[in-house]
């Protein structure tokens, strides 16, 4: 029988402002629980806000053994200064072994500051987490050079071992309404003054939702030949619940905005599925997309280098294949 211990455990920061942040938290609870089993520790979710009970319940239903919660009107806004103060205090009191957060915008702004205050190591945007057999250390695999290299990082002599983790890498556990766990509310302590005052916040327009977060990305290259054909990618993306990316020549041709550029000088995406049409597969482009789980390529040249990294390659002319594909999909979704 495992003791219910707060100290020496694995902590996951509960990030919940929107659907996407909530999902990565649930993914981390699942992964953290796996690591916790291996290390014979407990998985603890920690959540801050003005009213967090519903999130705490959700985290228990998704596998957290314990939720450490802090409720205070002063914690309503996601503020790096206040969150760092509270979490640093609790980490010093309860001494977790491992502390994880999603590599969301907030996670990547908050965790470096927290790690510095705790004088410990942090790895960024990890794509794998494993326990090293002989040492019990957390091996944090982080991409660098735009995904060209993977570095295995450890924090041998400092605690907690901290990492932010790329969304969508791990699978969340199913919601279990019968799950049992405890929720505790430790003392929050004094909060620092707010130095970064929010004047206005609006949700992003759907068109500026981060391409990096899309589960499906449909990308087009100069091989599409015309703005009209390129435009069909938007419908394809809509039908599949995804977003559109482009190669540099396609951006230069004026078929897509600069924000949609993928690759070395543009964005890195790691969606579940990437469909790339009329792109040759230049290295400067493929560095930005090779993190995709599945890559489907459509190109009329059977020798296009891109086929070498595609999971499914279709040798065909986009002019005929795209309209046919759209027809078939419109009937199905």
């Amino acid at each position: 029988m495992k003791k219910n211990r707060l100290s020496d455990s694995i902590w996951v920061f509960g990030d919940y402002r929107n659907y996407f942040q909530n999902r990565v938290t649930l993914q981390l609870i699942a992964k953290g629980k796996e690591l916790a089993k291996e290390l014979d520790k407990q998985l603890i979710a920690v959540v801050l806000g003005d009213q967090v009970h519903q999130y705490a319940m959700e985290y228990v239903a998704h596998g957290a053994d314990v939720v450490v919660a802090g409720e205070d009107p002063g914690l309503m806004e996601y503020q790096v200064d206040t969150y760092t103060a509270v979490l640093a205090r609790w980490v010093e009191a309860f001494k977790p072994q491992i502390l994880l957060a999603g590599a969301t915008s907030f996670g990547r702004e908050f965790f470096p500051r927290l790690a510095k205050r705790l004088h410990t190591g942090l790895s960024a945007d990890c794509v794998a987490l494993d326990v090293e057999k002989d040492t019990g250390l957390l091996v944090q695999t982080t991409p660098s050079f735009g995904g060209e290299l993977l570095a295995e990082v450890v924090t041998p002599d400092h605690k907690p071992q901290m990492a932010t983790v790329h969304p969508g890498i791990f699978r969340e556990l199913p919601h279990d309404p019968d799950a049992f766990g405890c929720i505790i509310y430790p003392e929050i302590g004094p909060l620092p003054e707010i130095r970064v005052k929010r004047m206005r916040t609006r949700p992003q327009q759907t068109h500026d939702i981060r391409l990096e977060d899309a589960a499906v990305v449909v990308a087009g290259g100069i091989g599409l030949g015309s703005k009209e054909l390129f435009g069909m990618l938007s419908e394809l993306a809509d039908l599949l619940g995804g977003d559109v990316g482009a190669t540099r020549p396609a951006v230069y041709a004026g078929w897509a905005e600069e924000e949609r550029l993928l690759g070395q000088t543009g964005k890195n995406v790691r969606p579940k599925l990437l469909i790339s049409v009329g792109t040759s597969g230049a290295l400067q482009y493929t560095t930005g997309i090779q993190g995709a789980e599945t890559i489907i390529a459509i190109n009329r040249d059977p020798n296009a280098p891109f086929f070498k990294i595609a999971d499914l390659g279709l040798v065909g002319d986009a002019v005929t294949v795209l309209p046919l594909l759209l027809d078939a999909l419109r009937k199905r979704v």
Partner: protein, 269 residues
């Protein structure tokens, strides 16, 4: 307004080689450039200087070769450049890097109103250094900024964060990390680089100048260690299908079903 911009030299090409014994990147023979977002930070600093007066000082921690990056920044228009270099600074993680940079900023007189960093680099890409400098200096931070306006003793800045567009007001002194969309990057004026090499000085500070101890910096002062570098498993090429368009579309639809992106077609058993 007194502004410090932190810049890092990064390899220009993705032809990265590594030193497997020391687990570090071999930088010799690889052309280096200023990290693209640091260029944007520099442009933003120059623009603020134009409106508000003051000085722009650039600092980098790196091997002596990084002086080139500082010269380039001087050529673009920075007023002062400081190279933080010492054999013991090598192998630093972000904890140790931010410590050296923060210590150097404390030594700069007068203490800056604004510190600018890139949101992240194109090489190790952690995005930690900005917030960690802010923490050590006890300053507020805003990350991922793509618009800056001055309002007296405050800055009003805009950034995208997790699906929200935030406009925030921050007190000075402060640290911002900047991202794309902030400033267009201008070309170097003709002859400016040569001039920067011959006329302007680059200050050089080492561990002793910064009153630092060996165990606080570089590899010794780091909490993380890179155990192993590897390349991602090569993506083997999968099935390549040739045939008429309807056959190709059929293959694609079946793959979408297998990935649960599309529901299985009912009629099909």
């Amino acid at each position: 307004m007194e502004i410090v911009v932190c810049i890092k030299q990064v390899p220009d090409v993705p032809t990265v080689r590594m030193d497997r014994e020391r687990m570090t990147i071999i930088r010799e023979g690889v052309e280096s450039v200023i990290n693209p977002l640091d260029y944007i930070a520099l442009e933003a600093a120059l623009e603020l200087r134009q409106k508000a007066g003051g000085h722009v000082c650039i600092i980098t921690m790196g091997p002596v070769q990084s002086e080139v990056a500082l010269r380039e920044a001087l050529a673009v228009g920075a007023d002062q450049a400081i190279l933080l270099t010492d054999p013991d600074f090598a192998g630093a993680d972000t904890l140790a890097t931010s410590h050296v940079l923060a210590r150097a900023i404390q030594k700069i007189e007068p203490f800056p109103d604004l510190i600018l960093c890139g949101m992240q680099t194109t090489d190790s890409d952690t995005g930690h250094v900005g917030p960690q400098i802010a923490e050590e200096l006890g300053l507020p931070q805003v990350c991922g900024v793509n618009e800056i306006h001055r309002e007296g003793k405050f800055l009003v800045v805009k950034r995208l964060s997790d699906g929200f567009v935030d406009t925030v007001k921050v007190t000075l002194p402060t640290l911002l990390t900047v991202t794309k969309g902030l400033c267009p990057v201008r070309d170097l004026p003709l002859g400016a680089l040569e001039a920067a090499f011959s006329t302007k000085d680059v200050l050089e500070w080492n561990m002793t100048d910064l009153d630092l101890k060996k165990e606080e910096v570089g590899f010794a002062g780091s909490a993380t260690q890179v155990r192993r570098l590897r390349t991602p498993p090569p993506r083997g090429s999968g099935d390549i299908i040739e045939g008429p368009p309807d056959v190709l579309v059929g293959h694609l639809l079946r793959r979408l079903e297998a990935l649960s992106i599309l529901d299985e077609e009912d009629e099909k058993k």
